[in-house]
């Protein structure tokens, strides 16, 4: 055939192939005229076009299975001062060899990545050398360290890295059948490592499973950190033509849209690549199948097409994981996770069954998740924090209603939800009435205050939110230092929290539309706050604060005398009684107790088994005992204290784990002991104080950090010491005093505002000094000085009890003698 003949054949062939098969014979007959040879040529070509074409059916040679030659290995060669031992991997960027320093007696193994020649210019190599310092500064157990770099004899750049024994991430997972949770755990480790690098201003840019090795001990090691960035230095100026992007797009499957477009690469690009890795880890496939190598296709796929949800590719993937992956892989960098750490945290939330951030848009989802988890936590949630949970649940439903209308409710919901999470689920069983919970609760407090302060900053104008916040501050204050529940002994912190709650609520309650919630919350806060005043030795302020709470509760009860409101009112009377007693207003205290008893007895008739009613009745008896004692009816007092103790012992038999009842009972024993002492029956007093000691010790053993248990133990030692001194057993008495002193001192040091403990300690100092007499003059003088130091601020605040005022006077007198010595 000649070129001219082929041109003719081609023309007819093309036209024939255009036509349907049935028309071809007629067409060929007409086109070829009488040229039989021409017609035969065209007909055989048409047949060839129709038949099986083998290799030519493929779009290109390599796709058709044509073998591509391998490059020869360079093992045995020397590169720089390293000897290449064996090839361990090949990639688009170059070949990796296991190598060792040729001049190194220790034969330390390294990995050398020989870049393909031509990959970058001499200038780039020089730049690399300076930039390398930055990358070399990355010192992290999960990052294979970059040790050295340079150019080989043929001008090919090389990088020397720490040699990591391990298998590539996906291979490791497949080969060992690694479970999904373990895969996610590995992924989180990877995220943490990437985060570390980001914090050191190094972006990886070429994150992919092949760059992540899993060592035999199961930890992930990231390779090539920062190398991609070093390589692509200085090419930012050129136009973003599709082919130009290929250089930057080192591994197209894992490259972010901005990388594909040739736009600036940031840490968000690494977050995207992490998303692709997570996709492949859970779905077993890459999100995009990049087949053509055509830059236009690549642009379209990566920049425009949304990937399938991972769950569409593999079974058993939850929609939460879908959401996490898709959020990490968002086309717009700003819509991805803000950091690798944030991505990791969300995976963590998924692992813990918490709501994932990736699905923040869906209200129903959040509610579902919240309630599901709440069921788990609720069982362990009691009293103070349990009540907080209730508040949060109310918030939940309210927030849900508001969500549709108000954007800020979204944040509020989430912040409050975080608070709930922190309270209910991070610490779900380390709660108020469970022994051993103090340390956990201290953490809860820190978290809670952070969240609350952030919310309070933008609560103006949102009445419901302010009320919720006040309630939450109040509960946090309880945990910090409420005198009547197990607390952390942080009196000042508690007072500050209560003050925040009161400041949020008072304007609302004073306004015409005050809600019941606002009023009840404020009443409760006044009452607990009064307890704090008392602890700080400010009885008159305590009484005033308690009366404010009482007034609110009286109104609420009058409006609707439900059992709850009646119990609340009874409790308010109790606070008033207690504070009045402390303020020396005994008539007022007695009247308050009578009022309280009337309410409680009515409730007890209706609900005889109710533990709260019974506990309150016992407390009423105790306080009535105090009142009798103050009226100098010591026998009447003793009778009531014993009755209170009897009720409390019964309650404790029903539930031996209750910390609150333990505390109530211990104080009853202590009161009995003090009364016996006043009646001059020191033996009986000692017995009662020893019972108190044992009860406090049981509390302290269950929770070493419970301040009031520790304080109770100290007080009991102190009281036992006093009784023993009166029984003329000074050696034993001193022993008890010393134990008391050792226990008081750290408590007083930790919370200088705790006047109660300070008063005790001052009193103890005087007692020790008196007991030791002049036998140890110098120590006695120091003790008197200590007592004066402790008593004076309390006295200045008007909170020093008469007995202590006496001791202060004694201490000052003796101190004057010390000075004259």
């Amino acid at each position: 055939m000649t070129p001219d003949e082929w041109r003719r054949v081609k023309e007819i062939l093309d036209a024939a192939l255009e036509r349907p098969e049935s028309e071809r014979p007629d067409y060929l007959a007409a086109a070829c005229g009488g040229d039989a040879a021409l017609r035969e040529s065209v007909e055989s070509l048409v047949r060839a076009a129709e038949g099986d074409a083998g290799l030519l059916d493929a779009t290109n040679a390599v796709a058709g299975g044509v073998e591509v030659p391998e490059a020869p290995t360079r093992a045995g060669e020397r590169v720089g001062s390293y000897e290449l031992v064996e090839e361990i991997a090949r990639g688009g960027m170059g070949v990796v060899y296991l190598a060792r320093r040729a001049d190194d007696e220790f034969q330390k193994k390294v990995a050398i990545k020989l870049m393909r020649s031509g990959l970058f210019s001499e200038l780039d190599v020089r730049r690399f050398r300076s930039e390398r310092q930055i990358v070399a500064a990355l010192d992290h157990p999960n990052i294979a360290r970059l040790l050295d770099g340079g150019t080989g004899a043929a001008g090919e750049p090389y990088f020397v890295m720490e040699y990591v024994e391990g298998r590539p991430l996906l291979e490791h997972c497949r080969a060992n059948g690694v479970s999904l949770p373990r895969r996610l755990g590995l992924f989180r480790e990877i995220c943490a490592t990437v985060q570390y690098a980001h914090q050191h201003l190094v972006v990886h840019r070429d994150l992919k499973p092949g760059n992540i090795l899993v060592t035999p001990d199961g930890s992930a090691r990231l390779l090539d950190f920062g190398i991609a960035k070093l390589l692509s230095q200085g090419d930012g100026a050129e136009a973003a033509e599709p082919t130009a992007t290929l250089e930057r797009m080192l591994t197209p499957e894992y490259a972010s849209p901005e990388q594909v477009r040739g736009q600036p690469v940031t840490t968000a690009s690494d977050v995207y690549s992490l998303g692709v890795i997570l996709y492949e880890l859970i779905a077993g496939e890459k999100p995009y199948r990049i087949e053509t190598g055509d830059p236009a296709d690549l642009l379209r796929l990566v920049c425009e097409q949304d990937p399938d949800r991972p769950s569409a590719r593999a079974a058993g993937i939850s929609s939460d994981l879908d959401a996490i992956v898709l959020k990490a892989m968002r086309k717009e960098p700003e819509r991805r996770y803000a950091s690798a750490a944030a991505l990791s945290e969300d995976v963590g939330r998924y692992l813990e069954g918490q709501p994932v951030e990736a699905r923040r848009g869906s209200t129903a989802y959040r509610a579902r998740k919240f309630v599901r988890r709440h069921r788990v936590g609720a069982a362990a949630t009691v009293l103070v924090l349990g009540a907080l949970a209730g508040g949060i649940l109310a918030t939940l439903s309210e927030a849900r209603r508001a969500l549709a209308a108000e954007a800020r409710a979204e944040r509020r919901f989430n912040d409050v939800r975080k608070l709930a999470n922190s309270f209910l689920f991070e610490f779900h069983d380390a709660i108020q009435d469970l022994p051993g919970s103090t340390a956990a609760r201290a953490l809860v407090v820190r978290r809670a205050l952070e969240y609350l302060d952030s919310l309070a900053g933008e609560s103006s104008g949102d009445r419901a939110l302010r009320c919720e916040l006040a309630e939450a501050y109040r509960r946090v204050g309880d945990v910090q230092g409420n005198a009547y529940t197990a607390n952390l002994g942080d009196v000042d912190g508690a007072a500050a929290s209560y003050r925040k709650a009161i400041d949020l609520l008072e304007p609302a309650v004073a306004s015409p539309g005050a809600t019941d919630t606002e009023r009840t919350t404020l009443a409760t806060t006044y009452l607990v706050d009064s307890g704090l005043y008392l602890i700080r030795g400010k009885a008159p302020e305590a009484l005033a604060e308690a009366k404010r709470g009482l007034a609110l509760r009286e109104r609420l009860s009058a409006e609707s005398p439900t059992p709850e409101r009646q119990m609340d009112l009874a409790q308010a009377w109790q606070y008033v009684a207690f504070d009045a007693t402390a303020a020396g207003k005994h008539d007022e205290a007695r009247a308050a107790l009578v009022n309280q008893a009337a309410i409680l007895e009515e409730q007890s008739r209706e609900r005889p088994a109710d533990r709260v009613v019974r506990r309150s009745l016992a407390q009423n008896l105790y306080l009535t005992g105090d009142a009798s004692s103050n009226a100098m009816d010591l026998h009447g007092a003793l009778e009531r204290y014993r009755a209170a103790a009897g009720m409390q012992e019964a309650l404790l038999r029903e539930d031996a784990s209750s910390v609150t009842i333990h505390r109530d009972l211990a104080y009853s024993y202590m009161a009995i002991g003090n009364t016996e002492e006043a009646l001059a029956d020191f033996g009986a007093a000692l017995d009662a104080h020893r019972q108190a000691l044992a009860t406090f010790e049981a509390m302290a053993a269950a929770d070493r950090k419970s301040t009031d248990a520790v304080l109770g133990v100290a007080m009991s030692h102190h009281n036992c010491g006093s009784a023993l001194a009166r029984l003329a057993r000074p050696t034993e008495a001193l022993q008890e005093y010393r134990r008391a002193r050792a226990a008081y001192e750290p408590v007083v040091a930790a919370s200088p505002s705790g006047a109660w403990a300070a008063g005790m300690l001052g009193s103890l100092y005087v007692q020790i000094a008196e007991l030791e007499g002049s036998g140890n003059g110098e120590e006695a003088c120091a003790l008197y000085a200590g007592a004066v130091r402790l008593f004076e601020p309390i006295a200045a605040a008007g909170g020093l009890a008469p007995k202590r005022r006496e001791q202060l006077a004694v201490a000052k007198e003796r101190l004057a003698l010390c000075a004259n010595r």
Partner: protein, 194 residues
């Protein structure tokens, strides 16, 4: 081999496009070496994924050798033309060596991978195709270029049209008739009497 700089390759391309046939002679080995290395490394790393694409190789080879700075489209078109020829030569040379090794009694080749064993050996077919394409080159050099660009460089119809300087309709037509021709020739070539 002395490493060619981007400038050197660009200059050769310019000389070649200005009509200097000698420039092409000097350019070819550079492109060949680069493509061969690229192809090898790509294959090794990507084998499991079946994602090796000649286009990627060619684009990369272009970037490695020329860089994307200050090179006109005409030069790039020339480059792709050369690269396509080079890819063809890389693959055909390898197939030829492979067949020779198979026939040589002193060489024992063991294929360990199942994948490799399962894949049909395309080497004889590729050599037949190469001969048929050489015949087409004689009859219609432009059409042979189109086949090289499409089949060996893996370019799309549009890219091929741009590089060859023809319309996409022409590329489609040329590709269709060329395939018929090549199949026909390969069929003859493979017959026991050929």
């Amino acid at each position: 081999m002395e490493k060619p700089s981007g400038e050197e390759v660009t200059a050769l391309l310019k000389e070649w496009s200005a009509g200097d046939r000698g420039a092409l002679e000097r350019l070819m080995p550079l492109v060949y070496g680069e493509l061969r290395q690229l192809a090898a490394s790509h294959l090794r790393s990507e084998r499991g994924d079946h994602t090796l694409q000649p286009t990627a190789l060619v684009h990369e080879a272009y970037l490695r050798l020329v860089g994307q700075r200050s090179v006109s489209w005409a030069n790039r078109a020339h480059f792709f033309g050369i690269a396509a020829q080079m890819m063809r030569r890389v693959l055909v040379d390898h197939a030829r060596r492979r067949l020779a090794a198979k026939r040589s009694p002193g060489t024992l080749r063991i294929d360990l991978g199942d994948e490799a064993a399962a894949a049909p050996d395309r080497a004889p077919e590729l050599l037949a195709l190469d001969r048929a394409l050489t015949e087409l080159e004689r009859l219609d050099p432009r059409q042979a270029r189109v086949v090289e660009l499409r089949f060996f460089a893996g370019l799309s119809v549009e890219e091929t049209a741009e590089v060859a300087g023809v319309s996409t309709a022409t590329v489609k037509r040329e590709w269709r008739t060329a395939r018929a021709f090549l199949r026909h020739e390969i069929g003859l070539d493979a017959s026991p009497w050929a």
